[in-house]
Subunit: 456 residues, 2 copies
């Protein structure tokens, strides 16, 4: 027996982990997303968890949330600092931090491997990111994002602006979530509209309107009262609260070349997606102020708008300007995987399910281990996931084990020479004679199979 | 055009990343491993990248290699330190570090969730780990391990000692590697043999013999010259260099109860695996000195023994003694995924392959986008991975794109009303008329499909 335990194993706030039966659902979700991304021909990349700090902060992001890597011993001992592959001049920049999103690593990756990539570069990336913020509802310190981006030197066809939300729509639909919408806007519409009103610094207004979800129209009005006369202020709020699409914006009577361009792009994207009723225009969303330059997206739960975005993204003119002298425009979307998953879990909306990926538990009959082993092998060779019970316990205990793990079928190899195999369906309780060479579970596949089911 | 780039995007030593065509192979490998683990009914878990430092160092591991997490700002600003869920008394222990293996997290996880797990707890875990050591051939600072363990309170049947290397054997076989062996030993054999020789502190001898791969028999002899008389030293070296199995050990004439027990266990494991010719006894391997208590495993490439272990593991009596007052024995194996993958890559033994998961590129005919879009949709609905070319480029350019990405089939929707669809097999160059509702690639599936293919 152990001594009194020296360390109490407790959860670390903001770093979630799941029990096996929840992890099985998470795996199925991740497979679903990957399958959809690959269905459209996007390739997978993964990047290291750590990037150089100068890379991480190159876009002017706040350093406050970044986790830096250190060592227990002094810097003199630290190979990170004394890396022989780093020249003296870069040594000061060689401090490492954990990535806080998948966009900065994508920019660095695309620039670094520019000559080895085939463009348009269509990549997906499903990885963890880290942010040292205070954990709260839907916000973790370690969480998984699922990003999909298209990058091409000089120009990316607008058709990708429609293809990405279609892919994300497919993903969200197949995850069987409560009602959600993907809201679409175009930064040129906002900026062009404000320009058409004769507003001189439209970015300031965008910044204020972007807060409308949090502070309401009155709050936005207060923020802008000093900057805009009442009629302009009214027009700004009217656009932000507009129901409808580009036609309704045009009816507001404001004109500018940039507005026309934005409305045309938005019109195109919405019409390409007109078969998807929950993809709608929303003229209040702006997303990441200095980043996006055209189409922007933001997905939300209908019943939990305050929970924040479940997916987001947009078009950018210059992804990797800090890293390469090539203009690399692109368009991308990010699914807030952990946010969505944690919400479904806390709302009790995840199917509880089994804690084993096994289709079958093969029972160990007393003194007949060889027949149990060969039965398990035969079933595995036919592609079934099979647990073999290794301890010579009573059959009742073996059955209880299968039930507790949610294994749907329990297999009884012959307990005596010359008897047939039998299999018991734990859900229905029916037990039938069978043969490992021909058995099939019947009906549809058990729900606990976690393979991707990819590729038809 | 961008200004001169501010940050040079260069690789960070020890943190590898792959181009898309290499990543596709990596994904296929990971799917293969996951499929094999699930085939035997092992469930997936993932644990947070960061653990509390007191957890990480609870087994007395050296802190030298552990990456600690820090923040750019002062500790006062740092929510990690000021976490309201941490009581004052634990605040000093709340420093976080990145895990350096998957065993310590498993121990913590099993203890923390003890009441929610079904035992025997059979889990696999495929995740990255971090070690701040100097990068060298086969050693990275961030790398992926694939671990598989069985844990049960009080007792784990010895049959699992044979099942685990069988699973790992299946995995390594399906990865199509150059010749390798899985070497098996039992710590009781070593310790019991030394006890039988009347050696008083057998662990010291084990520690010396464990170095035989690096320093040779003469080196081991020098290390032990002060401790052992020549006849005992000869016997120790004779065991370490013995060819054969338990029977050959018994012929050496040494006896002790522990030796008998170890030989019996080893005999059982080897006889269960007698159908696998490259699973062999090796009486020189000891693995992790204070950790394993019975069976131990170590896999190696036949032609690169100096490259070190490609998989390893063993049986332990008490996994989580630091965390819980229950004896939790187990047996586990770890596949050094990144080590193996990087070696295959550097030896040129990986199939280069495509950089897109797509089976088909649908060509965009001039002014006929709708037929291209509906063709892509029809093929995707049938389960194929399809890229649609979005830019109205010349057909030759579109073909070049498919060839450069390694997409095996190029699809030509009708360029004029009433004409048939055609599809070109880029490998053979043959082009045939076809129909998106019925087409199949013929022969076997294209090699670039990266779905798990799990579950039959």
């Amino acid at each position: 027996m152990s001594d009194q335990p020296a360390v109490r194993p407790t959860p670390v706030s903001g770093f979630p982990e799941w029990l096996p039966h929840v992890r099985l659902v998470e795996l199925r979700w991740l497979d679903t997303i990957r399958t959809a991304f690959e269905r459209y021909g996007f390739c997978s990349i993964e990047t290291p968890s750590a990037e150089r700090m100068d890379v991480l902060l190159s876009k002017g992001d706040t350093s406050k949330e970044v986790y830096t890597l250190g060592r227990v011993h002094d810097v003199d001992d630290d190979p990170t600092q004394a890396d022989p592959t780093q020249s003296d001049s870069t040594r000061d920049d060689s401090r490492l931090g954990l990535r806080f999103d998948l966009t900065v690593p994508l920019a660095r990756y695309t620039a670094q491997h520019f000559n080895d990539l085939v463009f348009p570069f269509k990549r997906y990336q499903i990885q963890r990111v880290w942010r040292g913020e205070r954990p709260q509802d839907g916000r973790f310190r370690e969480f998984t994002q699922c990003d999909i981006d298209v990058i091409n030197p000089d120009r990316v066809p607008i058709h990708f602006d429609a293809e990405l939300p279609r892919i994300v729509h497919e993903v969200l639909t197949s995850l069987d979530l409560p009602a959600w919408t993907i809201n679409v806007n175009n930064r040129k519409v906002l900026q062009g509209f404000y320009e058409g009103l004769g507003i001189s610094r439209p970015l300031d207004v965008i910044r204020a309107v972007d807060k409308i979800d949090k502070i309401g129209p009155d709050g936005v009005a207060r923020l802008l009262a000093d900057r805009l006369d009442p009629s302009r202020l009214q027009a700004v709020l009217r656009l932000a609260r507009l129901r409808g699409g580009p036609a309704e914006v045009r009816e507001l009577g404001v004109r500018s070349p940039l507005l026309d361009e934005g409305l045309e792009e938005l019109d195109f994207v919405l019409s390409e997606l007109s078969d998807l009723p929950n993809v709608v225009a929303d003229f209040s969303i702006a997303r990441g102020l200095d980043y996006y330059t055209g189409t922007v997206y933001e997905g939300k739960f209908v019943d939990w708008p305050e929970y924040g975005a479940i997916c987001s993204g947009g078009r950018y003119d210059d992804l990797a300007g800090s890293f390469i002298r090539r203009e690399l425009p692109g368009v991308g979307m990010s699914i807030g995987f952990s946010r969505i998953f944690a919400k479904m879990l806390s709302e009790g909306l995840l199917d509880p399910g089994p804690s084993s990926p096994a289709d079958v538990l093969v029972v160990l009959p007393k003194d007949r281990r060889p027949i149990a082993t060969s039965t398990a092998k035969a079933l595995r060779d036919r592609g079934f996931n099979v647990e073999l019970y290794h301890q010579e316990d009573k059959v009742a205990k073996q059955l209880r084990y299968a039930a507790r793990k949610g294994i749907p079928f329990v297999w009884f190899p012959p307990f005596d020479e010359g008897r047939p195999h039998e299999v018991k369906d734990l859900a229905s309780g029916t037990q039938t004679t069978t043969d490992p060479a021909t058995w099939s579970p019947g009906g549809q596949r058990p729900a606990n199979r976690s393979g991707t089911g990819a590729n038809g």
